[in-house]
């Protein structure tokens, strides 16, 4: 595949043992301890989930938010391969690597949260598989996508280990995996929203809508771009590489467009369904709705100005807001806006957060190690080895 005039990806090199990687390793150890307790004493021994809020952050953050934050690969692939914008090509590999980790670990998290994880294979097995369940669609589709992503990323390993023939063979079929890589996230990211529909009136009308799959999909796409901007900024600072302003400025305009579409559809839906009144009730749900919306409005306003799109600080702020908004949409629709009966409360326990933080640490550690060892980031003359 091509890179236009861009420099080819190359391993970053450098030491693998740094204060960052050591910290991440420690966090992963803590998460491992939490996991052991969970396996021996049950989910309730380390989490605060209960029958009123049976899905805590291991599902709502690790899967709903985590997989959305892993949409960089999907969103960039849409641009490069579906809308044929070759100029974004240097972003493909780093974005795909982030996605690979995000999705693989979302899958791991969900299995940790499954009470009867040893039966997981039932989902994919005829006789058990229940195709009317939205979760069936989500589970099969995410599993397939993880496989597709590993195949999409495998040329990186083949380059590293000089398997040129294999790489060429795979290259001839790559179009199919790219197409699947664009289709599958469109399906399951929207389905993560569709899973809320069966909750019916237990979910506040601010979120319960037949368009919730559309909201989930549009925010997944736009947060994919936000993640790329976020990761590029952090990589530029962390690895002391030049900031790729030109390409990110253009990307932020694409993100801006998707946010605008989202905001229009979101507000129009509230008006058409007559749910606007809910936003003005004196309760925590309405407050959280406004906070959620504000985090989408800020980047929509900031990125409207061309000069802001060329300022790294404004780009980073917009990306961070976009990520927070996406986070809040998912937290609000699965936790804040959900009420199955009176008297239930949920806030994650320290141990529960510890496991989630450990999962994030695996992502960061894996990313840092792999970009140092494998040809992922575009080569820069000035890159510090």
């Amino acid at each position: 595949m091509s890179n236009h005039a861009h420099s080819a990806p190359a391993p970053l090199g450098g030491s693998l043992v740094t204060s960052l990687t050591k910290t991440m390793a420690l966090l992963i150890l803590i998460a491992g301890a939490v996991l052991v307790v969970r396996l021996v004493l049950g989910i309730g021994s380390v989490t605060n989930v209960n029958d009123g809020y049976t899905w805590g952050i291991w599902v709502v953050y690790d899967v709903m938010v985590g997989s959305a934050f892993a949409c960089g690969g999907y969103s960039v692939a849409l641009l490069v391969y579906i809308f044929n914008k070759g100029e974004y090509h240097p972003l493909v590999r780093p974005a795909l690597l982030g996605s690979l980790f995000g999705y693989t670990l979302a899958g791991v998290s969900v299995i940790i949260d499954l009470g009867r994880y040893w039966n997981t294979w039932h989902i994919f097995t005829p006789g058990w598989a229940q195709i009317n369940s939205v979760m069936f669609e989500v589970a099969t589709c995410i599993s397939l996508y993880v496989v597709v992503m590993w195949i999409e990323f495998s040329p990186v390993f083949m380059e590293k280990f000089n398997k040129d023939e294999l790489r060429k063979k795979l290259g001839r079929w790559m179009f199919l995996f790219i197409a699947l890589g664009a289709l599958l996230p469109s399906m399951h990211q929207s389905s993560l929203g569709s899973m809320l529909i069966v909750l019916g009136t237990q979910l506040n009308p601010l979120w319960q809508s037949l368009l919730i799959p559309v909201f989930y999909l549009l925010t997944a796409i736009s947060v994919g771009y936000a993640i790329v901007i976020f990761e590029s900024t952090v990589s530029a600072i962390g690895f002391k590489r030049p900031f790729e302003l030109g390409i990110l400025a253009k990307l932020s305009k694409v993100m801006w467009g998707v946010i605008l579409v989202y905001l229009v559809v979101r507000v129009a839906d509230l008006v058409v369904r007559g749910a606007v009144g809910e936003a003005f009730k004196p309760n925590i749900m309405a407050l959280m709705f406004w906070i959620e919306m504000a985090f989408f409005v800020v980047p929509a306003v900031l990125l409207a100005k061309a000069s802001n799109r060329r300022r790294p600080d404004k780009l980073f702020l917009s990306a961070a807001c976009m990520m927070t908004g996406t986070f809040l949409l998912r937290i609000n629709s699965y936790l804040v806006g959900y009420e199955t009966g009176d008297g239930w409360n949920y806030f994650p326990s320290l141990a529960e957060m510890g496991l989630t933080i450990g999962i994030i640490a695996i992502e960061i550690l894996g990313y840092v190690v792999l970009v140092r060892l494998l040809p992922v980031l575009p080569k820069h003359e000035a890159a510090v080895k």
């Binding site: 595949m1 091509s2 890179n3 004493l41 049950g42 989910i43 309730g44 989490t47 989930v49 209960n50 029958d51 009123g52 049976t54 899905w55 490069v80 391969y81 579906i82 809308f83 044929n84 070759g86 969900v110 949260d113 499954l114 009470g115 009867r116 994880y117 039966n119 997981t120 039932h122 989902i123 058990w128 598989a129 229940q130 009317n132 369940s133 939205v134 979760m135 069936f136 669609e137 589970a139 179009f175 199919l176 790219i178 197409a179 699947l180 664009a182 289709l183 399906m187 569709s194 529909i197 069966v198 909750l199 019916g200 009136t201 237990q202 037949l210 959900y338 199955t340 009966g341 009176d342």
Partner: protein, 327 residues
């Protein structure tokens, strides 16, 4: 490049048109499921309930469930709600001074909480592995731990907050009322023959029977003039065990007649149901809305395949285009 995009868009539009004609959304729309032919259920009449909780105790005995303590001495089985240890509970509503039974203001009332065995259950629709099933004959919503993956989507989905989970176990299960359907098995060595809660109820507040006959019984009571004497069946309908009661001043509603397309467990009360934890619910089942959405998007995989075709065309174009650029 603009040419490619135009072509791609054309492809998508054509694909969309094909999908739209091939998958007629309204025809695919799934309405509410209907009552199974031999639907069985319970009728709970809060005005007859004296709050003795014999049903709570019998349920534990019939289902082999452990005691649950809420007092300091840990002497008595005192569950406060249904849970991983308790499938059936009697709750009390109390207002102000709580003087008069079945009065909303300054009164009190009882309500039984256990699975309502919905005609179109959300838990069955949500379950990805068919661990929750609705018996096609009796309509009883059953749970099989051997199938279950413990995802708890049923707990999240149930509008009555009924399925509960064992958070304190390494090998946990979902716990919910299955209308004592295990008692029908030949190796039933318990003293119970049918739903234990109904069999032991001393006042006829909970009775067991075919749902259509329970509905007729409920309607009969609603039609009575408050204060008149009438005969209440005890245990199960047609069991021949009757006793006298005075008709209450009922809320004119059988809870479970229309809610989400109906439930097989029906309830009567003299205090508004929303005060007793039973919310107003629409007649269209949430399961039917969710499944209609899924079927119109994914029915026969038509739409995904068509979209994939468009994506393949676009991806091939881009790859060729971008390879040429390089050379």
């Amino acid at each position: 490049m603009s040419m490619d995009r135009r072509q791609f868009l054309k492809g998508v539009l054509a694909g969309g048109a094909v999908a739209a004609t091939a998958a007629p959304a309204p025809a695919e729309a799934r309405g509410n499921l209907t009552m199974p032919p031999k639907a069985m259920g319970l009728l709970y009449d809060g005005t007859l309930c004296i709050g003795c909780k014999a049903c709570v105790s019998a349920c534990k005995e019939s289902n082999g469930l452990p005691p649950e303590f809420s007092t300091e001495d840990h002497m008595w089985d005192t569950p406060l709600d249904i849970s991983g240890k308790t499938k059936n509970i009697i709750k009390m509503y109390k207002d102000g001074t709580g003087e008069v039974k079945d009065r909303e203001k300054d009164g009190y009332a009882f309500m039984k909480h256990s699975c309502l065995h919905c005609v179109d259950p959300s838990c069955v629709s949500a379950c990805p592995v068919s661990a929750m099933r609705k018996n096609p004959e009796t309509g009883v919503v059953t749970y099989d731990p051997h199938d279950c993956i413990g995802c708890r989507y049923c707990v999240l989905a149930c509008p009555f907050d009924v399925p509960r989970f064992q958070y304190d176990k390494a090998f946990p299960q979902i716990v919910k009322c299955e209308l004592c359907s295990h008692l029908a098995s030949p190796d039933n060595h318990t003293r119970f023959e049918y739903s234990a809660c109904a069999q032991v109820c001393p006042t006829g507040a909970t009775i067991f029977g075919p749902t259509d006959e329970l509905m007729a019984e409920a309607k009969r009571r609603l039609a009575l003039k408050p204060g008149t004497d009438y005969m209440v069946p005890r245990g199960k309908l047609g069991g021949g065990d009757w006793q006298m009661a005075k008709a209450a001043n009922y809320v004119p509603q059988v809870y479970g007649e229309k809610e989400l397309g109906g439930t097989q467990v029906l309830k009567l009360s003299a205090v508004p149901f929303d005060k007793l934890g039973y919310r107003d619910l629409p007649e269209r089942s949430f399961a039917s809305i969710s499944e209609t959405m899924q079927h119109s998007l994914y029915g026969y995989l038509i739409a995904p395949v068509v979209v994939l075709g468009g994506l393949v065309v676009a991806a091939k174009h881009s790859l060729r285009d971008q390879d040429e650029d390089q050379e």
